[in-house]
C-alpha cells in the first residue's frame, strides 16, 4: 500500500463487504422467520418465495435498479463493487417485508414478477430521491428527511407495498369467521422463528453500521460503533417491552410477540441510530415494541390479515422511526413528516397499480382448494416435512 488514502479505501471496502455479508444473513433470516410462522403446509412455498426474491430482486437491481438509483457506479471512497454489493443487499429486504405479510395465499410467479418491478423501478426511485442521485433535487417532492439506514426508504416502502398487496389479495380463508370472530392461526415451528429473528437482528448490525458509509477515521469508527450499539439497544428494549406488556396482559411470555417487539425496535432505530445518545434508543425501542403489540390486533380488527406481523413491525415502526429522528435529534420534524408522506404516496400507489395489473394478468391468489391443501403442493409440489404426521 502506498499511502493512507489507500488504507482508507481498503478499510472502507472491507467494511462494506463485512456489512454486506451480515445483511445477506437476513436472507435465511427472513426465510426461517416466515417458514416458522406459517402453517406447515405453506412452509416450502414461503421458502421458495424468499429464495426467488433474493434471486430476481438482486439481478434486477444489478441490471437496472442500481444505475437508476445512484446514476453512476463510480466511487472514490471504496471499491465500486463493494458499494454495489452493500446496496444490493438491501433491495431484497424491501420485498421480503412485503412477501411475508401475504404468505399462505399468494402465488410465487406473480410475486416474483412484482419483485422484478419493485427492485428495478419502484425502490430505486425511492432511493434516488433520498440517498441517491436525487433527480428531484430542488423540486417540491425532493426528500430531505434524514433516514440513515431506511426506516422509511426500506421498511415503510416495503410496508406500503404489503398493504397494497393485502388489500388486493384479501385475508387467508378461515382467518375471519362469518360471525366476525378472529381465528388465531398458530406458527408451526417456533425454533425457526427464533433463529430467523436473531439472524435478522445480526444482519441489522451490518445494515445500520454499514450505512454510516465509512469506517476509515476515528470519527467514522466511532459513528459506526455507536450506530451498532444503539441499534442493538433498541432491539433489546423492544424485546423487553413487548415481554412486559404481554406478561401484564396475559401472564404469559409470548415469544412471537417478544421477537416482533425486538424487530419493531430495530426498525424504529434505523432512521437515526448515529444521532442519539446511548439512552434514547431505550425509549425509541420501547415505543416501537408497544406500537407492535397494539398494531397486531388493530390490523386484525380491520381484517387486514398479515400472518407474520410485517405491517406492525415494518410499516408502523418505519413511520415511527422516521418521526423519532425529528423528535430526538436536531433534524426538522417537518421534513421527516414530509418524507413519510411522500414515501407513503409513491410506494403505496406505485405498488398498488403494479400489483393490480399483475393480478389481472396472473392472479396473485391461489385457488380455494389449493389454499386449503396448502401452497406447498400447489406451487412447489413438495411438502416441507413429509414424514411428520400432522394434525
Amino acid at each position: 500500500m502506498e499511502n493512507l488514502a489507500d488504507v482508507s479505501y481498503v478499510l472502507n471496502t472491507f467494511f462494506a463487504l463485512f456489512a454486506m455479508v451480515l445483511i445477506i444473513f437476513m436472507v435465511p433470516g427472513f426465510a426461517m422467520l416466515e417458514a416458522g410462522l406459517v402453517r406447515s403446509k405453506n412452509v416450502t412455498a414461503v421458502l421458495t418465495v424468499n429464495t426467488m426474491i433474493y434471486a430476481v430482486a438482486s439481478l434486477a437491481f444489478l441490471l437496472v435498479g442500481y444505475s437508476l438509483a445512484f446514476g453512476s457506479w463510480e466511487n472514490d471512497s471504496m471499491s465500486k463493487w463493494a458499494a454495489f454489493l452493500f446496496q444490493m443487499a438491501f433491495v431484497g429486504k424491501v420485498i421480503n417485508i412485503m412477501s411475508g405479510g401475504v404468505s399462505e395465499r399468494i402465488r410465487v410467479l406473480p410475486l416474483a414478477l412484482f419483485g422484478v418491478i419493485m427492485s428495478a423501478f419502484i425502490y430505486p426511485v425511492v432511493v434516488n430521491v433520498s440517498w441517491g442521485a436525487d433527480f428531484l433535487a430542488g423540486t417540491f417532492l425532493d426528500l430531505e428527511m434524514y433516514d440513515l439506514a431506511g426506516s422509511s426508504v426500506i421498511h415503510s416502502t416495503g410496508g406500503w407495498a404489503l398493504l397494497a398487496a393485502i388489500l388486493i389479495t384479501g385475508a387467508r380463508r378461515g382467518k375471519y369467521t362469518k360471525e366476525g370472530r378472529i381465528r388465531a392461526i398458530p406458527a408451526s415451528n417456533i425454533p425457526l422463528v427464533t433463529l430467523g429473528a436473531f439472524l435478522l437482528w445480526i444482519g441489522w448490525f451490518g445494515f445500520n453500521g454499514g450505512s454510516v458509509g465509512s469506517i476509515a477515521s476515528k470519527e467514522s469508527a466511532d459513528a459506526v460503533a455507536l450506530t451498532i450499539m444503539n441499534t442493538n439497544t433498541a432491539g433489546l428494549a423492544g424485546a423487553l417491552s413487548a415481554a412486559l406488556i404481554m406478561y401484564i396482559q396475559y401472564k404469559k411470555f409470548d415469544i412471537t410477540m417478544i421477537l416482533n417487539g425486538a424487530l419493531g425496535g430495530l426498525v424504529a432505530i434505523t432512521a437515526g441510530p448515529n444521532l442519539y445518545d446511548i439512552y434514547t434508543p431505550l425509549l425509541i425501542g420501547a415505543i416501537g415494541a408497544t406500537l407492535v403489540v397494539f398494531a397486531v390486533p388493530f390490523f386484525d380488527r380491520l381484517r387486514i390479515d398479515d400472518p407474520v406481523g410485517a405491517l406492525s413491525v415494518h410499516l408502523v415502526n418505519g413511520i415511527w422511526g422516521t418521526i423519532a429522528v425529528g423528535i430526538f435529534s436536531d433534524k426538522s420534524l417537518l421534513l421527516q413528516l414530509k418524507g413519510i408522506i411522500v414515501v407513503a404516496l409513491f410506494a403505496f400507489v406505485a405498488s398498488y397499480v403494479v400489483l393490480y395489473v399483475i393480478n389481472k394478468l396472473i392472479p396473485l391468489r391461489v385457488s380455494q382448494e389449493d389454499e386449503y391443501d396448502g401452497l406447498d403442493l400447489a406451487e412447489c409440489g413438495m411438502e416441507s416435512y413429509p414424514e411428520f404426521v400432522k394434525s
Binding site: 386449503y372 391443501d373 403442493l377 412447489c380 409440489g381 413438495m382 411438502e383 404426521v389 400432522k390 394434525s391
Partner: protein, 112 residues
C-alpha cells in the same frame, strides 16, 4: 351400545363437530389416518422427478353412542362430511359390549 367410526376428509372435521353438537353429542375421539381408495393421491415433485403419493390424509372419528341414536348420528355425519367428490370416506357401525367411564367407573349408557 354402538360404535360409529367415520373416515372423513380432514377439513370437514369442524362441520362434523358442529353437526354432532346439535345432537348434544360432545364426546369423541379423533385419529389421524391415511386412506387408500378410489381417490387418486396427488403428484409431488422431487428434484426433477414426479411421483405419486397414494396415501391421502384422512381423519377417523370414533364415537360411542346408544342404540337409538345410531341412525341419526350416522346421518348427521354423512351429511356434514359430504362434498360429493371421490374420497369423502366411509362410516362403519359395530357393536360395543361394554363402556366404562374411567373417572367414575360408571358403565354403559351412563358412561357415554
Amino acid at each position: 351400545m354402538k360404535k360409529i367410526e367415520a373416515i372423513i376428509k380432514p377439513f370437514k372435521l369442524e362441520e362434523v363437530k358442529e353437526a354432532l353438537a346439535t345432537l348434544e353429542i360432545s364426546g369423541m375421539t379423533i385419529t389421524e389416518v391415511k386412506g387408500y381408495g378410489r381417490q387418486q393421491g396427488h403428484t409431488e415433485l422431487y428434484r426433477g422427478a414426479e411421483y405419486v403419493v397414494d396415501f391421502i390424509p384422512k381423519l377417523k372419528i370414533e364415537l360411542a353412542v346408544t342404540e337409538e341414536m345410531v341412525d341419526e348420528v350416522v346421518q348427521k355425519i354423512a351429511a356434514a362430511a359430504k362434498t360429493g367428490k371421490i374420497g369423502d370416506g366411509k362410516i362403519f357401525v359395530s357393536s360395543l359390549e361394554k363402556i366404562i367411564r374411567i373417572r367414575t367407573l360408571e358403565e354403559d349408557r351412563e358412561a357415554i
